[in-house]
C-alpha cells in the first residue's frame, strides 16, 4: 500500500483518470463522424456510382454493420493500433499518419522552442519593471500577436522574406532529392544522425519561416503568462525576505523569482499543444508543409471518413499524452500537487 500523497500514487491515479477522458474523446470522434449528414460512401463516390461498388466499399470498411458493432470495432482497433484503411486509396491509416507526423512534430517542436524563448525573455523583462515603456511594449506585443491570423502572418513573411528579399523558400520541407534517410521522420535529426549536412541546412532553411510564424503567434500567450507570474512572484514574501537579507536585485530575480514563475508555464505548455496543433494546420497550408494537418485537410476534402476518423483520433491521443506528461512533470517538481 502506497503512502497517501506519494508521487507514485499520484502517477497511478492520474493514469487511471485519463482513461475516461480518453474514452469520451474517442466516443465523441466516432459520433461526430456518424451523425454528419449524408452517407460517407455516397459522399465519396458521388451519386452516380454503381450500386455494387457502393456495397463493396461499405462491406470492405465495415460500414454496413450496425453502429454498436462499428463502435466496438473502432475501439478495439485503437488498442491494437489498427485505425483501418483509407477508403480513398486503401492505404493503412496508421501508415498515412506515420508518413506525415514527423513533419508536424518537427514544425511544432521548433515553434514551441521559439515561443518559449520569446515568451520567457520578453515576459521576464517586462514583469521585472512593471509599467515601464518596455513593459507597455511587451503587453502590446502580446495582445497584438494574439490577434493576428497565423496564415496572414505567414503570408506576410513569405511576401517580405521569401519574395522581396529572397532569403527563405516559401514552401516545402527540403530541397527535392535531399531528403535524409532515417527513422525519426524529423529531417533535422535524421540528417544530423546520418552526417548529411547539406540536407540539415536545407531542412533548417525551409523550416525557418513556418516555425517562426507558428512560434511567434503562440509566444503572445507565453509572454503574458510569464509576465504575470514574474510580477506575482516578485511580490511574494520569500522574495521580500531575500531582498531584506540584502541579496542584490538581479540575483533575486533569477534565483528566486524566475524559477518559481516558470512552474505555471509548464502547465500552460501542456495546454498550448492543442493550440499549436490547431495552428499547425493553418501554417502547413500556408507553407505547403507536408504534415498531418495538410493530410487531414486532403482526406476531409475527399470525404474519406475512415482516414479522417483515424487522424482525428491520433490528434486526440497526442493531446492527452501531452497533458498527462505535463501533469507528471508538474507533480515531480511541485510536491504540493498530490492526491
Amino acid at each position: 500500500m502506497e503512502r497517501p500523497g506519494s508521487l507514485k500514487l499520484y502517477i497511478i491515479t492520474r493514469l487511471l483518470l485519463v482513461l475516461p477522458m480518453f474514452l469520451i474523446l474517442l466516443t465523441l470522434v466516432f459520433l461526430l463522424l456518424r451523425i454528419a449528414p449524408g452517407d460517407p460512401v455516397l459522399a465519396m463516390l458521388g451519386p452516380k456510382a454503381p450500386p455494387e461498388r457502393i456495397a463493396e466499399l461499405r462491406e470492405a470498411h465495415g460500414l454496413n454493420r450496425p453502429l454498436p458493432v462499428q463502435y466496438f470495432t473502432y475501439l478495439a482497433g485503437i488498442f491494437t493500433l489498427d485505425l483501418g484503411r483509407s477508403m480513398l486509396n486503401d492505404k493503412e491509416v496508421r501508415h498515412i499518419i506515420g508518413q506525415s507526423f514527423g513533419a508536424t512534430l518537427e514544425l511544432t517542436l521548433m515553434a514551441m522552442i521559439i515561443a518559449m524563448g520569446v515568451g520567457i525573455l520578453a515576459g521576464t523583462f517586462a514583469g521585472r519593471k512593471r509599467d515601464s515603456p518596455l513593459d507597455f511594449i511587451t503587453r502590446l506585443y502580446g495582445i497584438l500577436i494574439y490577434s493576428t491570423p497565423i496564415f496572414w502572418l505567414g503570408m506576410m513573411f513569405q511576401l517580405i522574406f521569401g519574395v522581396q528579399l529572397g532569403w527563405f523558400p516559401t514552401g516545402g520541407r527540403i530541397t527535392p532529392f535531399l531528403e535524409p534517410k532515417g527513422v525519426t521522420g524529423l529531417y533535422l535529426l535524421d540528417s544530423l544522425l546520418t552526417g548529411n549536412f547539406s540536407a540539415f541546412l536545407s531542412a533548417l532553411h525551409h523550416l525557418a519561416l513556418p516555425a517562426l510564424t507558428l512560434g511567434l503567434v503562440i509566444s503572445g500567450i507565453f509572454t503574458r503568462m510569464v509576465r504575470a507570474n514574474v510580477i506575482q512572484t516578485m511580490r511574494s514574501d520569500y522574495v521580500e525576505a531575500a531582498r531584506a537579507r540584502g541579496i542584490p536585485e538581479r540575483f533575486v530575480l533569477w534565483r528566486y523569482g524566475f524559477k518559481n514563475a516558470l512552474i505555471p508555464v509548464v502547465t500552460v505548455m501542456g495546454l498550448e499543444w492543442a493550440l499549436l496543433l490547431g495552428g499547425a494546420v493553418l501554417t502547413e497550408t500556408t507553407f505547403t508543409w507536408p504534415g498531418l494537418g495538410t493530410t487531414l485537410l486532403y482526406y476531409l476534402k475527399n470525404r474519406d471518413y475512415i482516414a479522417v476518423q483515424g487522424i482525428i483520433t491520433f490528434f486526440a491521443l497526442i493531446v492527452i499524452f501531452f497533458s498527462l506528461l505535463v501533469d507528471l512533470i508538474n507533480a515531480a517538481i511541485d510536491p504540493r500537487i498530490r492526491y
Binding site: L28, L32, I143, S147, L159, G278
Partner: protein
Amino acid sequence: MRWKLSYREASGFSKAVVWTGGGIVLLFLLTALLSPWLVPYNPVDYEENQPYTSPGSQNWMGTTKLGYDVFSRLLAGSRIAFTVILLATSFAMFIGLPLGLISGYSRGKMDRFLVMVMDSVYAFPSLLLAITVAALLGRGVVNAALAISVVYIPQYFRVIRNHVLSVREEVYVEAARGLGASRRIILQKYILFNVIQSVPVILTLNAADAILTLAGLGFLGYGVTPPTPEWGYDLSKAMGDFASGIWWTSFFPGVFIVFLTLGFSLLGEGLNDLLNPLLRGKK
C-alpha cells in the same frame, strides 16, 4: 451599481483599454451595418473594375485577380463577420450557460459526467474541431457559426459552473433555501443574476477568437459560400498573388482581421479588469 463603482475605482489603464477596444468594435459594427451604402463598388461583381489595379484613387485598396474591389469586399466582409460571431456566441451561450448553471447547482453524478465531457472537448485542438465540424456540415453562414460555437460551449460551461459553485454557498442563497424557495426560483433569482456578470467578458473574448476561427475556416475553404465577401476566404484567394509582387490583395484583409480581433480582445481584457477587482493589482 456594481459596474459604476468598479468603473470609478478602475485604473486609468483599464479604462483606456476598454474605451479603445469598444471604439474599434463600434467602428466595425457601424461599418457592418452601413456597408451596403458605404461600398464604392458592388463587392460581388467583378466586372466593374480592371483586374489587379494597384491601390489608388479609383480603387483605394486595389482590385483582385478577377477584378473585385478589395475595399468594398472588406467593408462588406465585416457584415459577415458580425453575423457569424453573433450567431456563434449566441449558440454557445444558449447551450453552455444553462448546462453550467444546472451542473454547478445540482452537482452529483450528472455534474461529474458533464465536466468530463466538456473538459475533453475543451482539451481538443479547437481549430481542428471547428474545421472537422465545418467540413462535415458544408459551407454557409449558419453552418460556420455552428462549427465555431461547438468550440465555445465548454468555455461558457466551465466559467458559469465554477461561478455557480462559489455562489451557491453564499449566505443569501442559503437563506433563500431555508425560506423554502424552489430550485427554479433560486437558480433564476439568486444565482443566474450573479453569474451572468461573467458573461460579457467570455462573450467578448470569444468573439475575438471567433473572428480568427472564422477567418481560418474561410482560408481553408470551409467558411461561407463564395463569392460572399469573407476576409479569410479572400486571403486564401490572394495566396498566389504575391509571387508577382501584388501585395494589396493579401495585406489589407489581414489588417481588417487584426483590428477587429484586437478591438474585441481589448474590450474583453478591460472588462475583465473592471469586473474582477481582485485581479487589479495595486502597485
